[in-house]
Symmetry: C2
Subunit: 360 residues, 2 copies
Amino acid sequence: MHRKDLVKPDGRKLFLYSREPIADSIQATNPPHDPVTGRSHLRWHPLRGEWVAYASHRQNRTFLPPKEYSPLAVTKSADFPTELPAGKYDIAVFENLFPSLSLNAAEAPLPQVPTEVEPGLGVCEVVVFSQDPETSLSTMSLDEVTLVLKVLADRTRELGSKNEIKYVLPFENRGVEVGVTLHHPHGQIYSYPLVPPLPARMIETQRAHFLREGRGLLEDFIKGEEEDGRRLIVQKGSALSFIPVCARYPYETWIAPKRAAPYLYDLSESELRDLASVLKTTLMKYDGLWKKPFPYLLALFQAPTDGTPTEGLHLHFQTFPPLRTSDKLKYLAGTELAGGFFINDALPEEKARELREVPV
Amino acid sequence: MHRKDLVKPDGRKLFLYSREPIADSIQATNPPHDPVTGRSHLRWHPLRGEWVAYASHRQNRTFLPPKEYSPLAVTKSADFPTELPAGKYDIAVFENLFPSLSLNAAEAPLPQVPTEVEPGLGVCEVVVFSQDPETSLSTMSLDEVTLVLKVLADRTRELGSKNEIKYVLPFENRGVEVGVTLHHPHGQIYSYPLVPPLPARMIETQRAHFLREGRGLLEDFIKGEEEDGRRLIVQKGSALSFIPVCARYPYETWIAPKRAAPYLYDLSESELRDLASVLKTTLMKYDGLWKKPFPYLLALFQAPTDGTPTEGLHLHFQTFPPLRTSDKLKYLAGTELAGGFFINDALPEEKARELREVPV
């Protein structure tokens, strides 16, 4: 994998990744824009015991622009620069123009309010998976999807090495159903100044299991899924996907290496390739299910980067698909949002059979 | 308040509430329906450390029926019975035809799966606020809204007194944006066999604060909001509403008595009336903001009914409004759903000013 580090005219960082060497002649670009002022800050929510971020400079951000104005398309003419320079490379990563968190947030004054306040430190990156606006992780080649995982591994290592960053969360929002504003295939990486509540919870349960049992919680869970077999979707060498026995969404899947590796960069070349293959094939089944692009949130959970012990922590993807049938949303309402208690109207065993039977 | 207990022909309980005595001649009704078979069960989610409910019998439930078939309308003809009998009363409460949780769930066999399983015990009730299909909590009279609170207090006491029930959660989903299937004004009450994760978290923080400070967390929080003043919306005697300094949604409001009462039934007649007045006026401001019915999830958080100490626990309503502008949803995506870390693109101080300035 080759990487080239550039700086956009507006000062944001740009990283190009490619399977081939990248020409020195490539110049970073950015769309014309008004200066982005305003910094985020965090406020303590004493009743939930968690931080909330305020990013009011994001109110007027890009929202579903027509195709001809996509800022994620490759620059075609110097008169109309986009976020992606022209030239030969596979994947582009750059800092979000409207970041929810940024490392220069410390420069801004903090509001005087009756709760604890902190600057909204962090990094928000955009990961453009391909120069092709019509492709997706399900239709890209296995080599290309493997490269996406290598890029996420590289970003995790680099972002996680910063003192301010305690957790790196790569994710992809796909489909208007989950609020996607730009349809060019891309993901995002949020890097936080703290371990966010849900990863923190999953780290806590895995650590407790490891200290009690001497084995990884998710390793034991995966053994249970393999022995049962009814919820398995795809298996390939060292990796597999399944609808977990405790799925909260009808078509929720977990995509994981079978062994407990804390970070993507801990996986070998062949383990990465197995994981990419299972990811790609699972997403192909999603798209084949109703013969249309399947909307989802796809998140990659890894170990924190705050220096705490990582034994027993097991990287994996989880999907959060918003549809329960081809045309019905699973709304999050009273019991889910106010109770935090999920009701799933579908049995994981039945939904897994549906997905298994989709030909790919 | 008068109450009449009835049993529907299909066996479900019906409770009528009224400010006037209720005629003995009223007979319970229900719409014709196929037998509802299938029971819910709970599965343990070891990675999140929480229970998830499976209610696959709910897959084919009513979904946005045309107005003429509303099961929540009052029965007009014996040939077309609905959930509401004809007759004079204000509010009807009945067991949901498609309950996510039910007290006879213990009768059903539990699935053999590789995680802990329990029957889906609980009670799911529907609360029809009025016989008028076009009204809402914002347009009903203060007397009528006060009666709604008295009914919720009565339901909390009765449901919470059952051995199986550890937490009672009344809520209203309003608007197609939050997935409402029936537009007749109504709420729901979920009664759980456990304290759900988010109430559990808020109880934990309040108890810790009380044991440390000897005062209620929310009492202290409200004092801070009153002294600051910028986020207050409505004040009336013993109750107030405000956008909390740590709001996660742009138009999130909390509506509360100023003193820490654990349950609605702990409030005096005049405290209940103040709370009803603040609730009604806050919802009027919502509807006035964009001159259209404002969609929201409205949840009432009270103390648990599992016998644990309640000192310092402070009942209050929270709203979860899905819109960030009159036509833009605040989507819950990567950081919110996968991280549990909320980014609010609006400042609570600005949104509170908007709501304060709406004439009512």
